[in-house]
């Protein structure tokens, strides 16, 4: 209780409140614009947050992360274009509702479900935090190494149909993290005698290139279009209140979101799928799913908005980010010499609580903002796509150049921007590169320290948590291979599926 009150006290500052307000409302706007998305915004803002207090910087980034899904539901429902990648499933039931004249109801349900699940997930995690504080110290070097390896395996296996590509891109990320002067024996790795490679590849520069610049290049080189939608009429507050008719689905969706969010590399898509399948199986009208079912919409939105809070668990408790956005946030910790990991839950539980309370507040701010701003947001999403590309390019410059005022950094970011553009056009994922870069570095350090106390290979897994994670890794690989074989036997044709499911930015 003391830690909770201390956490509240940490938030009671003007700069934190301002950061929360800017992050929450900024996140909604960014989420609502198809083609920007939270990874682009967080990548651009990262260097600006380095000069801020860690709590202020993190609260602002968390605001963007947590609120973007609210905004992303707007274009998903109204114009059938998900604002963020995780709103893809929202289009399935949200847009058909709009087509039959229920746009206000669909938006209200989406916002309501996001709000309820956001609050439920954070309350669950606040209650769960003391338990985590007890478990986290049981994670030594070998457990953290294995958890990072599990993250890599999961992110590769999560990209079915492109597993080999995800594997090579994750390995490429690990490789990028090794380039330059290594800090133990002071030898150079893959510098090719070039001075500019001695410092290695900065994570922020790579992130800005792969997420922000690639998106700008894609928009600039594509066809110009300006989305349009009809204004919304009626009381949004009343529409949001309708979510309480679907309490069970919102609660179950939040539960799946919390569980899946905690597992690195899996996240929103699995949570949404489980929640959606549950809703369909328990519905009295399962045939309506995909044709404008309010239950489907609630299930999908409840699951995805419960993930951000849960995704902070592996980051804060173990120092292991599960996806690209938390990987970016990790760099904020590093810049301020705060090391997330078991020690943070043991010694700075109030800091953890402060972040969770900030997430509750951001959900309240966002839902109030949404009550009267949907029509305002509709005007913003009408920005033509190529002009949007121009604005991202201008903002990306601040992100890259303000890091070290280095033209080389900008050239590297531009190079990664072109690489990211090719990956997006090829429908290949960018996230494995970033996770490979971050988790590769963690694995190198932890394996080195863990092996100092290991005599035989079995010693590595002689502790219960290490053994459990190692078994989970083996089981996942076996299950994946089994799934592929089973699917092949089922003989579904490639073109019978929705090929563009993941065809959105930042994923």
């Amino acid at each position: 209780m003391d830690a909770l009150l201390s956490g509240l006290d940490m938030l009671a500052r003007f700069d934190v409140a301002l950061a929360l307000l800017i992050g929450s409302i900024g996140g909604v706007i960014i989420g609502a614009i198809p083609g920007v998305g939270p990874p682009v915004a967080i990548a651009i803002l990262l260097p600006a947050t380095f000069s801020l207090d860690p709590l202020v910087g993190l609260v602002m980034l968390l605001g963007i992360y947590g609120s973007s899904m609210f905004g992303g539901a707007l274009p998903a429902i109204l114009i059938n274009t998900p604002g963020t990648a995780v709103n893809a499933l929202t289009t399935y039931d949200g847009h058909p509702m709009t087509e039959r004249g229920e746009a206000l109801r669909a938006l209200g349900l989406a916002y309501g479900a996001s709000f309820v699940s956001g609050i439920l997930s954070i309350i669950a995690l606040i209650l769960f935090a003391p338990f985590l504080a007890k478990i986290a110290p049981m994670f030594g070097s070998r457990e953290i190494f294995l958890a990072a390896l599990l993250g890599i395996v999961l992110v590769i296996l999560a990209h079915r149909g492109q597993t080999f590509a995800a594997g090579m891109l994750a390995a490429f990320g690990i490789f990028l993290g090794t380039v330059g002067l290594e800090p133990v024996k002071y030898t150079q790795r893959y510098t090719f005698g070039q001075d500019w490679l001695v410092g290695g590849f900065d994570l922020i520069v790579v992130v800005l290139g792969l997420f922000a610049l690639s998106q700008a290049f894609q928009l600039l080189s594509g066809e110009d279009s300006a989305p349009d939608a009809q204004p919304i009429k009626g009381s949004m507050l009343r529409a949001i209140g309708e979510v309480f008719r679907f309490k069970r689905l919102a609660a179950v969706g939040s539960g799946f979101g919390v569980l899946m969010g905690m597992i690195p590399g899996v996240g929103e898509f699995t949570a949404q799928f489980l929640s959606y399948t549950y809703a369909q199986k328990t519905s009295k009208k399962p045939e309506d799913f995909g044709k404008g079912s309010p239950e489907g919409l609630v299930a999908s939105e409840a699951a995805n908005n419960a993930v951000p809070a849960a995704a902070m668990i592996p980051l804060l408790a173990l120092g292991i980010p599960g996806e690209a956005l938390t990987a970016m946030m990790l760099s904020v910790f590093y810049v301020h010499n705060v090391t997330p990991g078991p020690g943070l839950f043991q010694n700075q539980l109030d800091f953890v609580y402060a972040l969770y309370i900030a997430m509750i507040l951001l959900n309240v701010i966002v839902v109030v903002f949404m009550c009267f701003s949907s029509n305002l947001l509709l005007r913003i999403i009408r920005i033509p796509t190529r002009f949007l590309g121009l604005t991202i390019l201008i903002l990306s410059f601040v992100g890259v150049y303000s890091l070290r005022n280095s033209m080389t950094d900008c050239a590297i970011a531009a190079g990664f921007g072109l690489f990211g553009l090719i990956l997006k056009r090829q429908n290949l994922p960018v996230v494995p590169i970033i996770l490979g870069m971050v988790l590769g570095g963690i694995m190198e350090v932890k394996l080195r320290s863990a092996m100092a106390r290991v005599k035989t290979p079995l010693d590595f897994v002689d502790r219960p948590i290490a053994a459990f994670i190692a078994c989970a890794i083996v089981a996942l690989i076996v299950l994946h291979i089994w799934g592929v074989v089973r699917e092949r036997r089922a003989g579904l044709k490639e073109f019978e599926h929705d090929h563009d499911m993941h065809d959105t930015q930042g994923n």
């Binding site: 399935y92 999560a158 990209h159 079915r160 149909g161 492109q162 080999f164 590509a165 594997g167 090579m168 994750a170 390995a171 490429f172 690990i174 490789f175 090794t178 024996k185 030898t187 150079q188 790795r189 893959y190 510098t191 290049f217 600039l220 080189s221 110009d224 898509f269 699995t270 949404q272 799928f273 002009f387 121009l390 604005t391 390019l393 201008i394 990306s396 410059f397 601040v398 150049y401 303000s402 005022n405 900008c410 050239a411 553009l421 056009r425 090829q426 290949l428 590769g440 694995m443 394996l447 080195r448 799934g483 699917e487 579904l492 073109f495 599926h497 929705d498 090929h499 499911m501 993941h502």
Partner: protein, 180 residues
């Protein structure tokens, strides 16, 4: 089209035109890195395998090459998707915007952040076909807002332009150098 039928479908991604070109280039790059491994990393004496500086580069480059070859084999074995040439051309075309970005990077240290951003926004908007006064003003306005927010308010580190040095010393020059 059935949208998603199985749990696996939710995670699936499918090939696009140009997949063979990308797979070949990536595979070649991975093999090049693998060949360079003995020359670009060192094997240190009296150090265990897992603590060797070459260990993680070897693991990563090895995995890149292995997965790269498997991905290439997958692309070779799959049905060809028409439009390979057009796709590669699209990659080439996007280089233009990387050059625009680098031009912006080159101009700012000379003319200053504010003037550089306005110039860049207006010229690129013109190039993109937004040639009416309304759009040019919007572009310039956006550039001004970005400069004021990031340099003026958030005080991000962007050095003053060389052109500011030409101004007579005084309050205006200091203001421009600090905030714009």
């Amino acid at each position: 089209m059935r949208r998603f039928q199985t749990f696996q479908d939710l995670f699936k991604r499918y090939r696009r035109p140009g997949d063979l070109v990308f797979a070949s280039l990536f595979c070649l790059f991975a093999i090049f890195l693998l060949v360079m491994l003995p020359y670009e990393t060192q094997w240190v004496k009296r150090t265990k395998l897992f603590a060797q500086p070459a260990f993680w580069p070897a693991v990563s480059v090895g995995a890149m090459a292995l997965f790269g070859v498997l991905h290439l084999l997958g692309a070779l074995a799959s049905e060809r998707i028409p439009g390979r040439g057009a796709e590669v051309l699209a990659w080439m075309k996007s280089v233009e915007y990387a050059l625009w970005f680098m031009a912006y990077v080159a101009v700012v240290p000379i003319v200053g952040y504010l003037a550089g951003s306005i110039l860049f926004a207006c010229v690129l908007a013109w190039r993109l076909g937004y040639r009416s006064a309304r759009w040019l003003l919007t572009a310039a306005g956006f550039a001004v807002v970005v400069v004021v927010v990031f340099k003026g308010l958030l005080q991000v580190k962007i050095p003053a332009g060389l052109v500011y040095e030409l101004l007579p010393s005084g309050a205006l020059r200091t203001f421009l150098m600090t905030y714009l």
